[in-house]
């Protein structure tokens, strides 16, 4: 009977955590500590997620939504962005629509530990999702030089021409998927598709 219940729980867990886009399922021991920056004047600055948790508007998560969230705009979105890096989260918290963070009006970095929760929402690794989402093509492909990745990461909009087969030089084509991959790596970004209960928000750090 106990074995049956355990099997049922595992099946329920797997179904719940792979619903939607699917993907590798993070087990409890694999869930990293997550951080989210909230600059002055932002929603999660005015709303204390340590008291109410993180919530999302009812939207459907898709591959296009992931690419859009990372490389175009993040509101509205079916995802909540987090980073495994405190430093990255802090950089987002140092300013906001309410101005630059200060001692009197600090930004916040939330620290989230989902591993203590009985259930938790699906975590989406954007690298995995984008990479596997383009059946028959490769999201990381490009026709540029070896410096292209660094140029994209530095925010260039015009890229160095690269030699092509046959000897011609061409400015490389850069897809939104490639840009999203690079920026997701830059931010050590993890997307969460669902609500995060307040109990998982273990600390709210003041930063300025």
């Amino acid at each position: 009977m106990e074995l049956g219940m355990a099997r049922f729980s595992v099946v329920t867990y797997l179904v719940a955590h792979t619903f939607g886009l699917g993907g590798r399922v993070a087990t409890r021991s694999q869930v990293p500590t997550l951080y989210k920056g909230a600059g002055p004047g932002t929603h999660w600055h005015a709303t204390n997620a340590k008291l109410v948790g993180f919530t999302l508007p009812p939207m459907v998560g898709t591959l296009n939504a992931i690419v859009r969230h990372i490389s175009a705009y993040s509101f509205p979105s079916a995802y909540l962005s987090f980073s495994t890096s405190f430093a990255v989260a802090r950089s987002y918290a140092l300013a906001g629509p309410g101005g630059v963070a200060s001692m009197a009006n600090p930004g916040f970095v939330y620290e989230i530990d989902l591993s203590s929760m009985a259930t938790f929402p699906p975590l989406r690794d954007p690298i995995e999702q984008i990479s596997k989402g383009f059946n028959g093509s490769f999201a990381h492909s490009h026709n540029g030089s070896g410096s292209l990745i660094a140029e994209i990461a530095q925010g260039a909009t015009v890229f160095s021409q690269a030699q092509q087969s046959g000897g011609g030089m061409l400015a490389p084509a850069v897809s939104s998927q490639l840009r999203a991959l690079i920026f997701a790596i830059r931010d050590a970004e993890i997307l969460v598709e669902g609500q995060i209960p307040s109990g998982a928000v273990v600390k709210r750090h003041d930063v300025f």
């Binding site: 932002t42 490389s71 705009y73 300013a95 906001g96 629509p97 101005g99 920026f183």
Partner: protein, 80 residues
């Protein structure tokens, strides 16, 4: 970190960038005004992604956003 005055750069939909705070890392805070009134709105701009993080009215023009970024990248170089 420093403040940079922008020359009312048109970033689309009647929104103009007027000044910026350069922060550590790729994020800058942009102060804007609209042609509809004197209200000042601020939004973080990711200089590497070329993307405003906090909502501003209307749509952003690619040219305007690039002009702001170019200006700020040069300012960062000069500030060291």
């Amino acid at each position: 970190m420093g403040t940079v005055k922008l020359n009312e750069i048109d970033i689309g939909s009647g929104v103009f960038a007027t000044s910026a705070w350069l922060l550590d890392g790729p994020i800058a805070l942009i102060s804007t005004k609209t042609d509809q009134g004197s209200e000042t709105l601020k939004s973080r701009l990711d200089l590497q992604k070329g993307m405003f993080i906090d909502p501003l009215p209307g749509e952003r023009s690619t040219e305007g956003v690039h002009e702001v970024i170019e200006f700020l990248v040069q300012a960062k170089l000069h500030h060291g």
